[in-house]
Amino acid sequence: MTALTMPARPKHDVGLRPVPWRRMAWATWRQHRAALAGVAVFLGASAVYLWVTGLQMHHAEAASCHPASSVACAINFTGRYGETAIMVSVALQAVPALIGAFIGAPVLARELETGTFRYAWTQGIGRLRWTVGKLVLLAVAAAAAAGAFTVLFAWYNQPWAAAGYVTPFSARVFGLLGVAFAAWTLAAFAIGVLAGMLIRRAVPAIAATLAAYAGLAFATALWLREHYITPLVTRSQYPPGSAWAISGWYTKGGTFAFGDHGSGIADTVRQLCGGPCSGTRVLVPELLAQHGYTHWTSYQPGSRFWPFQWIEGGWLLALSVLLIAATVWLVRRRAA
């Protein structure tokens, strides 16, 4: 009998062998051809739509009358294109979620669900290189597609931005501009991939990805984003230019009186008038100012658009890297 001459726990390979990118690119493309093609078709169709309507808007803006020049022109412009533009920007918010859910989630979930990981992870390439290659390629492809799309959207949005109808900070468009769109797409992909690895079934993983992404996106837009840099405060009623007004409030004598929202203004005005105000029309702000109330607005100036973009892009990128690294770690450790 041959003597057994092996250590109690054989060591694994130290370090990662280089990934054969071209081979993994073919493998990834061929395996996920349907999903990738579906997303490409969807993005392509959207791009065509944006292109067509965008051209219309740009012609209208340049040719007939500039919306910024007169009120009548403005009403005409918004009447014709306003609703569509709003719907488009709202619809596009969902794109990163869809990419994350339908490309990211199934990547590992399908392998585990159908048992094909028993084929994939026993090939000579090894499970780590296979996973890293596939995830990195898909992540880069998704982010690049989203980035290209952002350029198109920025062009589409340009008449609105130029006319001042929508500040670039607006929750509706901030996530579609700059680097945010690509970063959100990447983050959605990373969420999807980790969800797929944890849940191990495609359909529940897709649902979980959509839910997690929606939660994160709403939390960021409604709360997190305004805190990236401490907002500036001004006394004027409306902050300058393309700034993003965050909140406003009144103080009297240096102390906080009441905020813009809520019943504070109405109550105080009633108090001051001694009942419902009547007679000469007096604007509320002037009335309050006469009585010693000072209005403050906190805002983010338009110049902070790109710093905000980098901050948001930065933490989304870090999150994505963390989630993908966690996924790879799980792949390494997970038993059959």
């Binding site: 009998m1 041959t2 726990r9 054989p10 061929r30 028993r118 026993t122 059959a336």
Partner: protein, 303 residues
């Protein structure tokens, strides 16, 4: 060289040990059959050997000392899992291309020739092939990698007799031509003697029997004689007893050289019968090295 070597190997899932204290040394150049009832730990052992699972205790190496699941081990080992997984939305040609991309070594002409002989269309999606064709495809992909070790988990469980024959014929031919070593698990005992020349019997997560088939068969005899004397027989270790009213059969660990008591007859035993007998006696064992299970408990089997 030992193609698979395990030392105190164990795997626990949650609170249950699927495999325990498994120590094996399967020599190269053989077809090793891993046999046992469902839940005995066959799939667990195979998963550990190909690196799909991590041991909870002990370790396993393949191909003469390479850590299971390491890059070198993956390179020289090909695995076909129980449901012969292939990507259902890819055609056979795509699977060939994919496997070529995922491995250092791939014999494309061989794979295409084999698929052609088996009549498997290259351009049909794998999901539309029959179960037998998918199994043959998975096997062809594995063999085209020119592995030194082929691991098959219940490869023929789902196949009809003809498909089963063709599948095993392909495996055996590869072994004849290339010197591939084969480790396969099966709970169908009938075909084993034709195919296996090394046996590992797993029962409840432990190795009960391990050894070359020829050696095992040569070291066991079936003695037939009067029931009245059955209990008094103590010349050689008894593995299993079958009693009738007047006549009993004893499976003993003896060779053809060992003397047979008068009024008893000795016969050689076949692999299937040997395996079944051990499976019925979980306390008995036949492992290489110091003799174990010297005196196994008898079991009452009435005819």
């Amino acid at each position: 060289m030992n193609i698979v070597e395990a030392s105190g190997l164990g795997k626990r899932y949650g609170g249950t040990w699927a495999l325990r204290e498994c120590t094996l040394a399967i020599p190269a150049g053989h077809v090793a059959a891993l046999v046992g009832p469902n839940g005995a730990g066959k799939t667990t052992l195979l998963n550990l050997a190909v690196g799909l699972a991590e041991p909870t205790a002990g370790g396993v190496t393949v191909l003469g000392g390479l850590a299971a699941g390491s890059a070198a081990a993956l390179d020289g080992t090909a695995f076909v899992a129980q449901d012969t997984p292939v990507y259902r939305n890819l055609s056979a040609a795509d699977m060939l291309h994919l496997t070529r991309n995922l491995n250092r070594r791939f014999d494309q002409p061989y794979a295409q020739a084999r698929l052609g002989e088996l009549g498997i269309p290259l351009n049909r999606k794998a999901g539309r092939l029959s179960g037998g064709q998918r199994a043959q495809l998975a096997l062809t992909l594995a063999l085209a990698r020119r592995p030194r070790l082929l691991v098959l988990d219940e490869p023929v469980a789902m196949l009809d007799p003809v498909a089963r024959h063709d599948f095993m014929a392909l495996v055996m031919t590869a072994m004849a031509a290339e010197g591939v070593s084969v480790v396969l698990s099966s709970h169908v005992l009938a075909d084993l003697e034709r195919v296996a020349d090394y046996l590992v019997l797993l029962s409840r997560g432990r190795v009960q029997v391990a050894g070359e088939v020829a050696g095992l068969l040569a070291s066991h005899r079936l003695l037939t004689g009067p029931t009245a004397e059955a209990d008094r027989y103590a010349d050689r270790p008894v593995v299993h007893v079958r009693r009738g009213g007047a006549q009993a059969h004893l499976l003993v660990r003896a060779t053809a050289d060992d003397p047979v008591p008068p009024s008893w007859e000795a016969h050689p035993i076949g692999l299937e019968e040997l395996t079944l007998a051990y499976l019925r006696e979980p306390g008995a064992g036949a492992l290489p090295g110091p003799a174990r299970g010297q005196r196994a408990p008898h079991s009452e089997v009435t005819r």
